[in-house]
Amino acid sequence: MQNEVRRLRTELGLSQEGLAEEMDVSRQTINSIETERYTPSLPLAITLARFFGKPVEEVFDVDGHP
């Protein structure tokens, strides 16, 4: 699933490890989401979107046009 997690994270100056701690997941999971190898669960997707202060559809998109 395409997403804007990496862009939004770097805009905040956060490392993958830092975002992982905020989300209570591993750094590998954040990396896998950013590289679109892993589609997060709905709760994690919503938590990520809330963390970035964006609607979830602005962070994740199934059509490839976030």
Partner: protein, 138 residues
């Protein structure tokens, strides 16, 4: 901040998550060693116990590593839970294929198919039981 994975954060829950696999490996090793010792195969019992001790130590002391931590539990998040579920399903599929092979060979040799038939029967009941349970729960 919402928590992504609503899991127990109690000290007891955390301790269980961190230590269940190394403790399980150790207990299994001792159990198998005991069985082998009773069976008079002490040498291979020690070898097996050593292997299980090595696994236990790896999971106990290696939890700082993300991969080992994900496998062993302390760092298991939803992605690791998915990996574990898929790996378990894959291993289960392999075991089922081996069971079918063993069953067929036993039948072809004129035997009654045991113990493969019994294990296959138990697996079939377990699968449909779990599927029914999950069907009503989800």
């Amino acid at each position: 901040m919402l928590t992504a994975i609503p899991e127990s954060k109690s000290a007891k829950g955390q301790l269980f998550r961190r230590r269940w696999l190394p403790v399980w490996s150790l207990l299994l090793g001792v159990l198998i060693f005991t069985a082998m010792a009773i069976g008079g195969n002490l040498t291979w019992g020690f070898v097996t116990l050593g292997l299980f001790l090595a696994f236990s130590a790896l999971f106990w002391f290696g939890e700082g590593n993300e991969t080992i931590g994900g496998l062993a539990g302390p760092r298991r998040d939803e992605r690791w839970a998915m990996i574990n579920q898929r790996a378990t399903a894959f291993a289960g599929t392999i075991v089922i294929l081996i069971l079918i092979g063993g069953w067929v060979v036993e039948l072809a040799q004129g035997h009654d198919g045991s113990p493969y038939s019994l294990i296959m029967g138990a697996a079939t009941v377990a699968y449909f039981g779990a599927a029914l349970w999950l069907r009503f729960r989800s």
